[in-house]
């Protein structure tokens, strides 16, 4: 016999895998579509896998038909049921993919190719991000439980670093100052930013210029403007104290600003408000543009004055923006460092020492106690995390707005 005995035929989208035997030739399997010969063991293995998958697929389909009434599910009542159904559908999709992979014999399915394209988009950023951010973040957590000065071998010390925090007076002062700084800076910046945004949202001439000026302190180099601030608030001859003298404040009552432990924090806070209000102003401007003009027209028809319009339209409509601004402001306040470094160096004494300043000093200046510095970082992280969780909760509330 020269012709083959077909022992198995599987039509799959026109693809036929057949096992031919006879004519004294070795037994071969032939993949008609891909035009190549396979060994019988390979073919059989393939066939078995396919059969198993097919059976599974049928079973899943059966389940879908009998167990889940596709049309009668209520999105609220049958939450669990829907979840289960989704799981089932996912599994079916997976099985289908597996079947296709065996049938076509291609290493990369269509999905695989699509994934590859997507990864090629992400890779340039993600590799850099993973190496230079993700890895250090994970290390920071680990390092908080270690003792290391950078030279001697790393030692695991458990919670010792955290225990040490409780009797570190500088840390406690830094924590307190960070909170005080944030509590003082957030409301002032918020009010200033909102006020500016409302003014600059009106139709006025030269609006773009005013906006640019309002935003400019934010983009200006902190080192440069802090140097100006130091001079303007200089205790001896700065213009602020000169002005105060002219207003009749006695010489011994003049504040020493950055050099005065009672006024140092005020100096830092006022600088921060001036520097960052422009940024939050822009965020508020974006928020204001989202308020529909009809609301104001309706208020005008009701005879509302400017204050009533603000109270009943602007403020409620801006709630999500305000919420976002408060969260961002608080997080940024926790991270304060540069202004403190430039204006007061944490002094006088510890009156403006903040967390990041303390971390920096512990790791790079007064010691190289990396483990302990990481432990302080964890406190900073906990603070930020706490605020972020509040944000996520709040965002859910505002999701319908």
């Amino acid at each position: 016999m020269t012709f083959d005995t077909r022992t198995n035929i599987m039509p799959i989208f026109g693809r036929i895998l057949e096992i031919r035997e006879g004519g004294g030739r070795p037994i071969l399997a032939y993949d008609n579509m891909n035009n190549k010969e396979l060994s019988v063991t390979d073919a059989k293995e393939k066939q078995e896998k396919l059969n198993a998958l097919d059976a599974k697929m049928k079973q899943l389909q059966q389940r879908l038909m009998t167990e889940f009434n596709v049309w009668g599910l209520d999105s609220k009542k049958d939450k669990d049921k829907i979840k289960e159904k989704d799981k089932l559908l996912k599994e079916m999709k997976k099985t289908q993919k597996a079947i296709e992979k065996i049938k076509t014999g291609k290493l990369l399915s269509r999905d695989g190719k699509r994934n590859l394209v997507a990864y090629s988009f992400i890779a340039p950023n993600f590799i850099g991000f993973a190496v230079f951010t993700l890895v250090p973040v994970v290390c920071a957590f680990l390092l908080a439980f270690m003792s290391w000065d950078g030279n001697n071998p790393i030692q695991f010390v458990g919670l010792d670093n955290f225990k040490h925090l409780a009797d570190d007076t500088r840390f406690i002062a830094a924590l307190k100052n960070t909170v005080v700084y944030s509590v003082a800076t957030v409301p002032f910046t918020l009010i200033a930013a909102l006020g500016l945004a409302i003014l600059l949202n009106k139709k006025i001439k030269g609006r773009a210029i005013f906006r640019a000026i309002g935003f400019f302190p934010y983009v200006a180099s902190l080192i440069a403007v802090a140097a100006v601030w130091n001079n303007i608030f200089s205790p001896g001859a700065g213009i602020v104290n000169v002005l105060l003298t002219n207003l009749g404040v006695a010489k011994q009552n003049l504040p020493g600003w950055a050099a005065d432990s009672q006024w140092a924090m005020f100096t830092v806070v006022s600088f921060s408000v001036w520097k960052s209000m422009g940024y939050y102003m822009v965020i508020y401007l974006a928020g204001l543009q989202g308020i529909s003009a009809e609301l104001y027209e309706a208020a005008s028809l009701d005879g509302a004055n400017a204050w009533q319009k603000f109270k009943n339209v602007t403020w409620p409509q801006l709630k999500p923006t305000t919420f976002f601004v408060i969260i961002m402001l608080t997080i940024n306040c926790f991270k304060v460092y540069d202004q403190v470094y430039m204006l007061t160096q944490g002094g006088p004494g510890t009156s403006t020492l903040v967390l990041v300043y303390h971390i920096y000093q512990t790791a790079f200046v007064t010691s190289t106690d990396y483990g302990y510095a990481s432990a302080i970082s964890m406190v900073l992280f906990a603070l930020v995390l706490f605020v972020t969780i509040i944000q996520f909760r709040g965002e859910k509330n505002y999701a319908n707005d």
């Binding site: 992400i122 991000f129 973040v137 180099s221 080192i223 001079n231 990396y370 900073l380």
Partner: protein
């Protein structure tokens, strides 16, 4: 009717007066800086303050280049800032396109990686990051600063928010026309994302140009230092040479001012469209 129009005119005048007063207040530190940069040191604190110096000392702007290696600092900072901004724009918008418009395996898990670190302040991991860079032999190199600034989660997040606002049907149509994803990104997405890219450029350029803590941890060799460290160093060394300090400060502000003014018309739009307003 006449009365109301008169009233609104008065309101308008008040509005402008308030605005101008606020703007002047915002600008005083800059005016003071500019004015002091043209003064002799002994005149900086004269009372009453002279905003426009009688005989401006333009010399300050010449001397400052020789007192410290200012040109070197400016070049270093420009190099770092330009590379970081270019990398940031390119890689962020590229990655953001995939997160916003493509379906792929473990998309959510990868994106969660980005989101999770947005909430982690840089200061939390700057210590291990420094140790890692040092073990790569990157401390005291500009490459270290570039690496740590160029791949921020913030950029990807911001661009993704923006792309999500662009209708999917646009990409679908292009796909049906047989465009590859790369082509869709380049021909359709990029031209549409001007406001978002401008916003990201301002943020990245400003953050890198003004960064102080990063370079002060990494850069130790004098001729590798950046403008901000140089400025700080100069203030420390010549604390009473006010005219020169202020001249250097003015110089350090000019590039940021230029970038900002060029892109600011897209800025509010960009912030609104990228949803960083929350």
């Amino acid at each position: 009717m006449v009365k109301t129009s008169q009233k609104s005119r008065i309101n308008k005048v008040i509005l402008y007066v308030v605005l101008i007063a606020i703007t002047v207040l915002m600008l005083i530190p800059f005016i003071w800086m500019l004015s002091a940069s043209l003064k002799y040191d002994k005149d900086v604190f004269t009372v009453p303050i002279k905003w426009i110096p009688e005989n401006p000392k333009w010399d300050n702007y010449k001397v400052i280049w020789t007192k410290i290696p200012l040109l070197r600092f400016v070049l270093n900072t420009s190099k770092i800032t330009l590379i970081v901004t270019a990398l940031q724009l390119l890689t962020s918008s590229f990655a953001a396109y995939a997160f916003a418009k493509l379906e792929f395996k473990s998309k959510n898990a990868l994106f969660l990686g980005y989101i999770a670190t947005i909430a982690v302040p840089w200061q939390v991991y700057m210590v291990p990051q420094f140790i890692m860079m040092r073990s790569f032999g990157l401390n005291d190199t500009h490459l270290a600063i570039i690496c740590l600034q160029a791949f921020s989660a913030f950029g990807v997040f911001m661009m993704r928010q923006f792309y999500q606002g662009i209708p999917d049907s646009l990409c679908e149509a292009a796909r049906i026309d047989g465009m590859s994803e790369y082509k869709i990104y380049r021909k359709i997405m990029l031209p549409l994302s001007k406001p978002a890219l401008s916003t990201l450029t301002i943020f990245t350029f400003v953050a890198t140009w003004n960064d102080f803590l990063g370079p002060s941890i990494y850069l130790t060799t004098q001729n590798k230092k950046t403008l901000q460290i140089g400025l700080r160093m100069f203030i420390g060394q010549y604390s009473s040479e006010y005219g020169l300090i202020m001249a250097a400060s003015v110089i350090s502000l000019i590039p940021v001012l230029i970038v900002f003014l060029c892109l600011q018309k897209y800025f509010v739009e960009g912030v609104a469209a990228t949803g960083i307003k929350g």
